[in-house]
Subunit: 360 residues, 4 copies
């Protein structure tokens, strides 16, 4: 029931504010006897790290994770795993405009309206900084998935659109994703994006993005209908990421436009193996995995903190304008890839454990 937790059996509770002492999470329910070290987690955090390109926040975080509990002699013990990341670059000195004014499109305002108190330090709890805990927990989830399925489930993400500039789906290639700082699967569009984002930044603006996340190798039968469907929980997982405004499974919104025969993935058997003519369903029927790739897309809105002045109000409800200077991303969507992957891993680990409980 706690709203800072995610998952039912593999349960992650995150805590911490952007510019507080530290952030972290507690993972409850992890199976025992899984090998786990800080290095296993750190490598995913490093992928998410701000400051890896000139198009993401220049905040120099090390995001150094420590395991405080739940692991003994390199193995999980079945007890809660507490992870902590100290905030080093807290720059508490000057918050400028954002100390008393609200940024349009930012959660500053609604946290204040809900709780009646404002932690103005860099977005407080609503900051994307919280997602470092997700990435850390996601690294553990990947290990759990492997532990249960007994093979690697590849979980991969890519940026498929930056602002108005979409990749060419025919050029989509997972191996390209790692070779550029945009997680872009279409190597032909990389330089165009680079130029475009340079322009956006120069103008003090920001732009949205579309992310695609994919899991390959998941067995059939995973997902709990009616309200714990695999797609239901993936939708929640993705929508819980800051700035996400849309989630699609398989064909997504496009499924509305076509006919039943165009949409259906026809079924064939090859011996004991079931194969499909296509994967419009994104690997999920009735909330349960089919054994095809799980395919999810999400849209990330443009960063709300921009330099271009915007009309807003302050805490005293006086009209004013705001211009957010400082270290913000022209395209926050670029940083969402490792987070979306982590959320996918969290959902799958949890669902695999739940399936094991009910179906043995």
């Amino acid at each position: 029931m706690s709203h800072n937790s995610f998952g039912k059996l593999f349960k992650v509770t995150t805590w911490g504010e952007s510019h507080g002492t530290a952030i972290g999470c507690v993972i409850d329910g992890c199976p025992p006897l899984i090998s786990l070290t800080e290095k296993d987690i750190q490598k995913y955090l490093d992928l998410r790290k701000p400051g890896t390109s000139k198009f993401v926040t220049q905040r120099k975080e090390d995001d150094k994770v420590e395991i405080l509990s739940g692991v003994f002699k390199g193995k999980t013990t079945g007890t809660p795993i507490s992870l902590i990341i100290y905030n080093k670059d807290q720059r508490s000195k000057d918050y400028g405009d954002i100390k008393s004014k609200f940024r349009p499109g930012h959660a500053d305002l609604t946290y204040f309206l809900k709780y009646g108190i404002r932690d103005y330090r860099g977005g407080g709890r609503s900051s994307a900084r919280e997602t470092a805990s997700r990435v850390a927990a996601g690294a553990v989830a990947r290990k759990v998935i492997r532990h249960i399925v007994k093979k690697d489930i590849k979980i991969r993400g890519a940026v498929t659109q930056v602002g108005a500039l979409s990749i060419n789906p025919r050029n989509f290639n997972w191996t390209s994703v790692g070779s550029n700082s945009f997680f872009c699967p279409d190597k032909k569009i990389v330089s165009v994006w680079e130029e475009y984002l340079g322009l956006i930044r120069k103008k003090g603006l920001s732009v949205g993005a579309t992310i695609r996340v994919n899991a390959s190798g998941l067995p059939a039968g995973i997902g709990e209908p009616i309200y714990g469907k695999l797609d239901t929980e993936l939708a929640a997982a993705m929508m819980s990421i800051n700035a996400v405004k849309g989630v699609e499974i398989g064909l997504g919104m496009e499924a509305a436009s076509i006919t039943g025969d165009e949409n259906s993935d026809e079924i064939r058997a090859k011996g004991k193996k079931i194969i499909f003519s296509s994967n419009n369903a994104g690997g999920i029927l009735g909330g349960i995995s089919t054994s095809q790739d799980i395919d999810v897309s999400l849209s990330v809105k443009p960063t709300s903190s921009i330099i271009k002045p915007q009309k807003t109000i302050n805490e005293k409800l006086k009209n004013t304008t705001i211009s957010t200077k400082g270290r913000h991303d022209p395209c926050v969507g670029l940083r969402a890839v490792p987070i979306a992957e982590a959320m996918m891993a969290l959902v799958l680990a949890d669902q695999l454990m739940r399936n094991r409980a009910q179906c043995g």
Copy 2:
């Protein structure tokens, strides 16, 4: 934790199969002293009822709801409300092809792969019949919302696209929705849809649809970050509806394409009232309501049961083809409107209670 339950404090657990004895739900956590009769619930069930136009299943269900508990002398008592709807038109005689074959795009297959057993009677638990319980529970949720907010929150849905045919957003008018059998807000397109769906039906095909759901009047501050965000739970709620493949909040997928200044809803104060220049956020920032309209869109894929023959397998994994005759919808999306409204009501009632618990 139960996967047939929805909500945390206003919790609904649904049960029942399409062609079993009955379906129903238990609502736990409803506040006491709310007036409630079967009539209050029946009127929403009647809107959902199959057989109201020639474009929806001709199954003649009365969907007559009975309140079995939790209400005394016309008022809720704070104890669980049990609702039951007996299945009258069970036509158990002949399931034809669907008894042993799997329909492409249907949950038949995945339920069988997960549970190792097949209730072939009209889709069993995966049938859209389960959604009658949601609509019934949603009627109670609406009363709870009013009880807490002390005014009516208008929750309304409309079909905005049928197959490739989208409404003209400029013609959007909520008052048109009730005057046609398509829940269509653009009265100019009604006859076009009618002709189009007639054609689809004649061809033995089906087609998808897009639904928009809106809540008007919700106060600011509702929604629980980080994993219990209002949009997170709306996304889950909508994605849990059969055949839904995409969910959008506010601008949704389109938010990816635009710039920060185009996307942000600028803020002004008029006395103590906060107003916004636009509502691209769909009424939600950081997972918390802003006081603007809550705006959600969803895509519904085309009905998977079609007459046109499709390649598939049977329970023995033999290749075959299937043609689903009988009483199925050319556009199942048309029936999703009252369901999506109900899910919106369930989310809001639950979040309002949770807000009351934490913030008083």
Copy 3:
């Protein structure tokens, strides 16, 4: 989170009032492919049935259970199992004193203080009638236990004390329990209790009882520390039964009085088998089963509805007296045995599923 639910993975939600239309429950999470019929459930309900001796309420209930969903062709399908028991003997005519006055020691008063509304019909939701749903769900739980452990776990209860009259522990014999209407394991005391209860009844009084519940054959390793301990959940399970005021695991309260060496169950290994010199721990250490018998005791307070007049107030807060005539038990504890057994079964089924989820 719903307070009318019990269990986490094998989750039971009960509903219904004493003199409403029906009572029932929904079981969510039951594994598929378990054979289940109404008969399997009915036999446990029959044990609980009021009216089986002259010392329990003379209400003539058939307590006829119907399975409404979740079972197809005699097997569970993995979907929610809805059970219903219609209330036949509702005698709605005359509630006499209890319509407007509160019985001292009864939940009438506190329900009214909490919810501001009073369902005066036979105790409403607070009536022991709700426990029929527990017994029904417990019957399903027993099947789940067997399904997971692959052998029978014997779950048995007995009355070990009636009022001041305790059994002689040396005469304790499980086989005696079934041969008398007191669930008494000491056949020598049966006639004494009979006479004693006859006297209590003649005086218009009531008396308490102590129950012991035991599970034999549970493997080691079941139970989830820290807050989901096996004993923690057994304590909650038993304390949730009407009129229970104390719960003990193993030595229980007596453990306070002795020394560490007297209390500890020494450990030996015989090949791969671990054996213990005694079972003061009641089969649980650190909240996890040891493989010894699970042993729980509980006290049930005397029935609060008695004929002897008592000082009380009415709904208008006026002082008055009450004398409860009608069909009430001189010792409600006698009826608690099948309920306590059912609660034990619910806890074990749930914990076994949870153990399977985490530990494989």
Copy 4:
């Protein structure tokens, strides 16, 4: 669902092992705008601190708590409160016998049987060290209770029995509790206990204890039937404390022995105030508070780590004996008082929030 969490709306998740880096907890759901400092928490931790008398473990812990999140400028923000206590005195060098052998009566064995791995450092997760997190969280819960009820609810505990030596109930005086190192409410028995425990210690033995916890000032109407009853959750709360084997509400086990007229607390009204002739119910009827004192008793078994040699086995299932030297308590029950108080506070805070959600 996580088994290291307690509470539903005021939810505490604890983590950490006895001799790991640190222990701590995350509190999710705390209302905003409550003043909170480390000092507020530290004062309760200091009461629990080992080493305050010669009869409790001589481990020199400072148990210095740090607030890592959820508080800004001295006030709670509504976001998760993360508390950490670093383990300073870890003495990792020598675990002696307990490294490879199991202590009879200790959770060492069952954790090993469940998880297949053994963290032999001072009991690992099963150590009473975890309870420091409960005491810390309990301090926050007390603030929440005051915040909601708008007055102080006195929550107090006392030791009422040490081994066979019970206090004289007629001498019970809350003010005596603070003036001795035994939390003893009967000042006449203090010196007897002192001598007795000295003897027990000299013999290398240990002894059990009985604790009573009391809450005064709680309004009527708190508690959620059927499975979220106030007494149900208090029973679970107390039974989750290490070494507790029995829990009683009001008269507890004794309720079995008496008649209905002896047991019932008669009711009178004085104006709008409801008063009772006695409090045998321990302030709870039907799981809901009556406005009388909440009264709970619990038994704590003798410490299982004793010097007197006992038969046991080692990890390889070989028979052997064990004698636990080192820094252990002759009566671990003495340390349970602040923990039992904390658990009472956690239950009340949570139930008050839940009552507010449903009943306004």
